[in-house]
């Protein structure tokens, strides 16, 4: 019984984690994800801060999804202190979130995951071996950042999104510029969809897991969770349902669902629950190994949605608005939103002075830990007997299929 644990650092993912393969003799018998990211203790940091500071601090949880963290935090805060936002603000926030979706997906697809399919080490070899792929990916990525900058003032940690509104509302000319850029990028995105959908799978087929996504609002927004097992969970009870616990081997809390079945969140989960018929045939029985396909389709949907949002905004014209005034009251708020990697929850409680007394943040990668573990086990079973290095490589590719955002997960 000489079982050996071999740990390998995850690369081309956000944050710090490793995969541990447990070897018994020549056979790999088990695998484990270890998120050893340093905890910044955000939920504790936020306690004691004023309601209008929460989102500014909370968005620093993660850079790739800073816009969606910011919006999630703002929504929860506004709910707690009783602020309603204008339709215009709502549309602009939605636009910013779609921008984040485009940026994050483009980054993952072209810079982080595609190298697995092309057999290169990452952006460095991509630049020399497949320069046009890198350039196309960056061009799409830039569209997402352009949107985030236009609305949020900055691609990372968007400061222009405030409680009750925006600092400065972008003007018509700026939105028209974004519209033109998006129109100019549509063909490229469409080409990429075709290219990615035709990539040969590099992982064995694995069983599909139950999934869960936010619903009840415009794409990526909503007030409840819907699962493939047909459960509906309201925002208020979501945290309890997600049921987080502390476990060894990971600094991110792990969700424990009723029947201990892991649940998967993210692009594939969202598509599973609302699959555009044109693409359904690409996903029959393909599970997590098709995540790249799900992402490129979502990227296309995000571009389309952004275009619609811009049209809506331009139609009514852009009004100069000042943020709605918030008067601190005692209260509590929970918001759900779809981050690029899946369900994100922000929940806060404030005292009568508007000072935060409790904070809870549940992130997609944390939720996905159970699903990743299950997938890893399935992979090892499917590859039983294969060469050790091959299993190790596949295990890392598999984890990358979840596009883990470890800083988010541990926060």
């Amino acid at each position: 019984m000489s079982s050996v644990i071999i740990s390998d650092i995850l690369t081309r993912v956000e944050g710090h984690g490793s995969v541990e393969l447990i070897r018994d003799g020549g056979r790999v018998v088990d695998a484990r994800l270890n998120l050893y990211e340093s905890p910044r203790l955000f939920e504790a940091l936020l306690v004691g801060r004023r309601f209008d500071e929460i989102a500014d601090v909370a968005c620093r949880i993660c850079s790739i999804c800073s816009t969606v963290h910011k919006v999630a935090a703002l929504q929860a805060v506004e709910q707690a202190v009783g602020v309603t936002i204008s339709r215009q603000t709502g549309l602009l926030r939605e636009l910013a979130v779609q921008g984040g979706q485009i940026e994050s997906h483009a980054l993952h697809i072209f810079c982080l995951a595609l190298p697995d399919y092309l057999g290169v080490n990452g952006i460095q070899e991509l630049a020399t071996r497949e320069p046009e792929k890198l350039q196309v990916g960056l061009r799409i990525k830039k569209l997402g950042n352009l949107i985030q900058e236009t609305v949020g003032g900055r691609a990372i940690h968007p400061f222009n999104l405030l409680v009750g509104g925006l600092g400065r509302v972008p003007d018509v000319a700026q939105l028209q510029y974004v519209r033109n850029q998006l129109a100019g990028g549509r063909d490229i995105v469409d080409d990429c969809v075709a290219y990615i959908l035709n990539l040969k799978d590099i992982l064995p087929p694995l069983a599909m897991l139950p999934v869960c996504a936010v619903s009840g609002g415009p794409p990526l927004f909503g007030d409840r969770l819907t699962t493939s097992t047909l459960a509906i969970i309201s925002a208020g009870s979501a945290a309890a349902w997600l049921n987080e616990h502390v476990e060894p081997h990971t600094h991110a809390k792990v969700s424990h669902f009723d029947e201990t079945t892991p649940i998967m969140v993210g692009p594939l989960a969202r598509l599973t629950l609302a699959m555009p018929t044109t693409y359904a045939h690409h996903f029959t029985g393909n599970s997590i190994r098709s995540s790249l396909k799900a992402r490129i389709i979502e990227l296309q949907l995000a571009v389309e949605r952004a275009q619609i949002l811009i049209e809506q905004l331009l139609e009514t014209g852009l009004k100069k608005e000042v943020p709605a005034i918030a008067i601190p009251v005692q209260g509590e708020g929970t918001s759900l939103i779809e981050a690029p990697r899946g369900v994100l929850l922000h929940s806060y409680r404030f005292d009568g002075w508007g000072i935060c007394s409790a904070a809870n943040i549940i992130t997609p990668t944390a939720i996905n830990q159970g699903a990743i573990a299950a997938s890893l086990k399935a992979l090892i079973a499917a590859m039983d007997g294969a060469d050790y290095d091959q299993i190790k490589r596949s295990a890392k590719i598999l984890i990358r299929c979840y596009d883990p955002c470890i800083s988010c997960a541990v926060h």
Partner: protein, 247 residues
């Protein structure tokens, strides 16, 4: 010419400074031609430190023992070690409550359950190793990052900035939020270089670039007091990104 050999590492942080580099969509292909990013786990496999580096760009603060080791190893291997971003330079948001007992904070998040890791109060890089240059900002400006890299290719370190956000804010002919609108803007105390991004969009400076050298705290607090902002409110705001009471 030999390519510049660079390591890019992230410690306790949000990866925003590294992402800022990846966000240089127009310039990245050119950069990859001029520079060998040898160690850059976020964008390259494998994560292996090897040989010597002309420069190591390090994002994030230090809050765990394995980060100390990594940082020291990077220092040993690199001609220049550069603190990238506010966390690395000042501690950043992670160090927001450094004044308090970290174990209590930990329990607030993880409960009594002892987490299998040893974390300590987040510290800026210079508390542990010699730092040759710093690029501040949460996140740093793309321009600054590109200039840093272009300079390194020439063997030069960046010239440090010593003027506050207000200077650039005035250059842009913005409305002054502090004097005209009585909004708590940290501009006078905060290091410039961002082009006064936030005030230019009517959002007060939150101080993401850290303190300017020789700021006049006393008079600023006085001014805020006249505008009805209590000392504590101002100080809390001020220490969002630089908790080490350095301002």
């Amino acid at each position: 010419m030999r390519k510049l050999r660079v390591a890019i590492a992230g410690l306790t942080a949000c990866s925003g400074c590294q992402l800022s580099l990846l966000n240089c969509e127009d310039e990245l292909p050119g950069l990859l031609e001029q520079i060998e990013f040898h160690y850059f786990p976020m964008a390259l496999s494998p994560a292996l430190l090897e040989g010597e580096y002309d420069a190591a760009l390090v994002e994030g603060c230090i809050s765990m023992p394995h980060e100390v080791e990594l940082l020291q190893e990077l220092r040993r291997r690199s001609r220049y070690l550069i603190a990238l971003g506010t966390c690395a330079v000042w501690g950043g948001v992670a160090a927001l409550r450094n004044g308090e007992d970290r174990e209590l904070l930990r329990q607030q998040v993880y409960g009594l359950n002892p987490l299998a890791c040893e974390t300590f109060n987040p510290q800026p890089l210079q508390s542990l190793v010699q730092v040759d240059a710093a690029v501040s900002g949460c996140p740093p400006e793309k321009d600054e990052l590109l200039r840093l890299l272009a300079g390194l290719v020439r063997g030069a370190l960046p010239v440090s900035i010593d003027y506050p956000v207000c200077t650039e804010c005035r250059m842009r002919e913005n409305l002054c939020l502090l004097t005209e609108r009585d909004i708590l803007c940290l501009g006078p105390l905060v290091l410039g270089g961002c082009g006064a991004r936030c005030p230019s969009m009517l959002v007060p400076c939150e101080g993401c670039r850290g303190p300017v050298p020789e700021s006049n705290m006393k008079e600023y607090l006085e001014l805020c007091a006249q505008k009805g902002f209590g000392r504590l409110t101002v100080l809390e705001r001020l220490h969002r990104f630089c908790p080490e009471r350095k301002i």
